[in-house]
Subunit: 184 residues, 2 copies
DNA sequence: CCCGGTTTGTAGTGGTCACTGCGAAACCAT
DNA sequence: ATGGTTTCGCAGTGACCACTACAAACCGGG
């Protein structure tokens, strides 16, 4: 019948715990209590904390793509249209723990803490290439618009996480209002 | 002749320590050792860790403006010109501990940890308004371009901190190359 | 030169952390 | 059922954290 806990059980619990309480609250002890087991069990499957974090970040990458896919699903001809398509995702991003967790991991990477410093750049690079792949419908000469849109979307995500919806809404409104009639 | 240490001494040391080693390494004990005193002295001036962090973040805000001022000093008529003016600052941002410290604080705020959750949004909002104030030379109807540029610059800063220069350079090159001849 | 408050050192407090030694229980093959 | 392996609980270990009790050193004003 197998044992009570598999590695996947614990990993899923770890990702859920991180989404609920943040990476800083993800400890062997707390995770074990959440799963109703001794922390020895967690350590058995993930011999070091870095092992656990590494796999949690992998899961976070998947969640990020799921969360952002709708933003790039609609084909868009230019910068402003891409932003408009992404808007529904951006607008609720501040309530999405996936983005909060991503920025927490990013902050730890910026602080130079391992294993984040090694792993987060791979995560971000993979995301950028994935996003670029989703917009292949864009003509080649519009690739610059796509690059600008991706950077802008990223900046607005940052505003929303760090400054709240007010600043982000203001910036987005100006971009959408100003660019609507101009270039097409 | 007064005492050996003033509050400003210790605060300056704390900001320097944070820039050197990150906020996560800023502890009473380590700061005291750096200053060559007992940790009791630090605690005397900053009764709680949050007091210390609050003032360090205030200092960080000033440093951020100093670091970013050259990016907005040149008047620019549109999105692409603004990005081009900001480029020298962006290009070296990954080696600037001020930006690393800012993203670390941002990550802690995204994780919901106090006092960052309360203080960082004020920091970012203040920065956005300050940046908007610097670009008053831009005609009113170009304000949307400015908003897009600020978000784009922010996104590129993020790329550089979290994904390294390669991804950021690629995105920026596309934006600058594609937009150079277009709108003016 | 002594008296008040201000500043600093010594030596802790209780808490949490990642991680471990060891033995027992659960499991599987035979 | 039995022997060996995998899984797990109990009870730690030492390190580090923010923060504190207490008393000594220091200072300017009288």
């Amino acid at each position: 019948m197998g044992y009570r806990h598999t590695k996947d059980d614990i990993l899923a619990g770890a990702l859920a715990a991180a989404l609920d309480d943040g990476l800083s609250q993800l400890t062997f002890g707390r995770l074990a209590k959440r799963l109703g087991v001794s922390d020895r069990v967690v350590v058995y499957y993930f011999p070091s904390k870095d092992d656990l974090i590494g796999e949690v970040l992998l899961g976070l990458g998947t969640q990020l793509q799921i969360a952002l896919a709708p933003a790039f699903a609609t084909p868009a001809a230019n910068h402003v249209e891409m932003l408009r398509a992404a808007w529904p995702v951006l607008a609720r991003s501040e309530h999405d723990p996936v983005f909060a967790l991503f920025f927490e991991a990013g902050g730890l990477a910026a602080a130079g803490r391992e294993p984040y410093r090694s792993l987060v750049p791979q995560l971000v690079t993979a995301w950028v290439e994935w996003a670029a792949g989703l917009i292949v419908g864009t003509p080649a000469r519009r690739r610059d618009e796509a690059a600008a849109a991706i950077a802008t979307i990223d900046g607005l995500l940052l505003f929303r996480q760090l400054a709240g919806s007010k600043a982000a809404d203001q910036a987005a409104r100006r971009i959408l209002a100003g660019g609507a009639s101009a270039r097409g």
